[in-house]
Symmetry: C2
Subunit: 371 residues, 2 copies
Amino acid sequence: MRNAVFDFSEMTTSVVAVKTDVLVNGQPVIGYAFNSTGRYACGEVMRTRMIPRLLKASPDSLLDPASGLIDPALALACMTQREKPGGHTERSIAVGTIECALWDALAKVKRIPLHTLLAERFNAGQQVQEVPCYVGGGWYAQDKGLSDLRDEIKSRLQEGYTHMKIKVGGVSLADDLKRIETSIAILGDPGHLAVDANAGLDHKRTWEYANALAPFGLRWFEEPTDPLDFELLFELSKHYAPAIATGENLFSTQDIQNLLRYSGLRAGQDILQVDIPQSYGITQFTKTLQVLRDQGWSSHQVFPHGGNLMTLAIVAGLDLGGCEAYPGVFGVFAGFNDDAQIENGMIRLSDRPGIGFEGQNELYELMHHIF
Amino acid sequence: MRNAVFDFSEMTTSVVAVKTDVLVNGQPVIGYAFNSTGRYACGEVMRTRMIPRLLKASPDSLLDPASGLIDPALALACMTQREKPGGHTERSIAVGTIECALWDALAKVKRIPLHTLLAERFNAGQQVQEVPCYVGGGWYAQDKGLSDLRDEIKSRLQEGYTHMKIKVGGVSLADDLKRIETSIAILGDPGHLAVDANAGLDHKRTWEYANALAPFGLRWFEEPTDPLDFELLFELSKHYAPAIATGENLFSTQDIQNLLRYSGLRAGQDILQVDIPQSYGITQFTKTLQVLRDQGWSSHQVFPHGGNLMTLAIVAGLDLGGCEAYPGVFGVFAGFNDDAQIENGMIRLSDRPGIGFEGQNELYELMHHIF
């Protein structure tokens, strides 16, 4: 399986389990998370710095005095002690994964879904029952032709999805245009199709693709080129009228602030795709969201990277634009609860406590063997 | 030991040894490097991704066809396979440390110092015998008063150094100004003193320090605030007339490119301090240097972070501005060859093959036990 830039043959991930001393039905509450997809395992950073710092801290220093329960913001501050400014990604994935597991534990102790807890904390308690969910697919694979792509999209539509994202940039523009036309023909609406170049285009090809894609009016054009090339985005956003999407390869609030300052991306239109567990977690993301709002962006412009239950809970709890799904890829480390229902492109939320990994059996089987 | 932001009580590092099949005097040539200072050990990234990729590659694919010897640029490309764009620091330190060890091995096989090899490759063979070397000191420590600071600087002057950098931002501005005045009084010239805030000042304090420091005409004012806050640097560089220094917490050519584009830093005046082993290594740094030159910067404006033999060889070989020294701090992971001579602020280069760790006995003792 590959995109325009690389294949996933060596991909790994880290799973975190946080065992608490709170009993529910006689069993200790355990919070879980994993470090999303696309970045490698980070167990050493967890084991040598982040977990020891948390374990060494006085327990009271990590608790919300009002509830006596763990405060993820205090845990975040504890984990980032003795870390130099900048160079975020060296630790942001390890920190964010642990932080998400703490949120899972906290919501489970309160016996409510994480999306409910987040809505109470950060979104005036506004509950949603379902969120938009699109498919990240259309991967390149050996011998995969247009008819295979057509079959892939048809089966997604049968599953209840309405919006699809496909890879571009891994073949010639002419071949990609055929893939795009094929996809639109099945989806029925170019606004239901997004394309993702995974930062694989050089400047020349970026403009060739932008010029060729613009007339289609696609949902978005994702990561044409290097994620830090704000200057090209600035030029592109002046000339490419439909939406541009980026952000899955920026891991700090500071980098997002710079993206907004320098890239010319358009409030009310363009799309931001931070991977929240990889970017120091939920607490830090609420600060990023504040930066976005200060610049006139809506939370609905955020479609986070990572098609998993963590992202789904965050999208629902923080009222973001929608969630990504990767049916059938990344093994057990993608997908939602096994009884998840997709209808008209919307996914219904489960009412399981916490993130709800307990409803995703194959992944939970792996997670609960940690203890 | 602490700066304005954090202490080093948990600091670790990774040492790399690359054993070659080339014999010199009957012994296999071994290249060494370590991951500089300030960022933590990164052995897992080396052991799970970078070393396996190199070992799995066909040997010929890593060799310079002309010489039959390892080509660090090919090794860099091999190590960065299957790595997503952006998020550099998650791997740049592991990659750069291994890359520097390969350069050490290569120079040793050629039986020449690394600075000579780099000068031949990248600097038209222009050899230097000595380079400017300043002391990074003036740390905060419990009960360290002005007289201790005075003694510290006096002993550095006696050792042959002429330029000094001290920490600021860890106490009140009034107290820091006393430390600065004390330091200038001994050094004799404000142009021989730099100050380093280690990104520890908020916006308000940045301006208080800038206004108070400007009249002194110090050598440079280093990292006032967050390394990614290009907007503040832009404002600061319009109002603060003397030199500003930054860059030790930017780890990719793309980040440096953005720094040059957006921060307003001044070609011919301001100072860039990339840590080269932490930023994908020497090959990648030559690309960063080209970006700098394209923007009118001189290589003499680069004073790399990291007071060690790797940096010294690179400064000499690529004709950079100068090298940092940390006498008596970071244990064996700082300093130069034991017979290094400092005179009038210049350090003489040794003619040992490679980086020359073999002349830094305590560190070499630790390194050569790897095999």
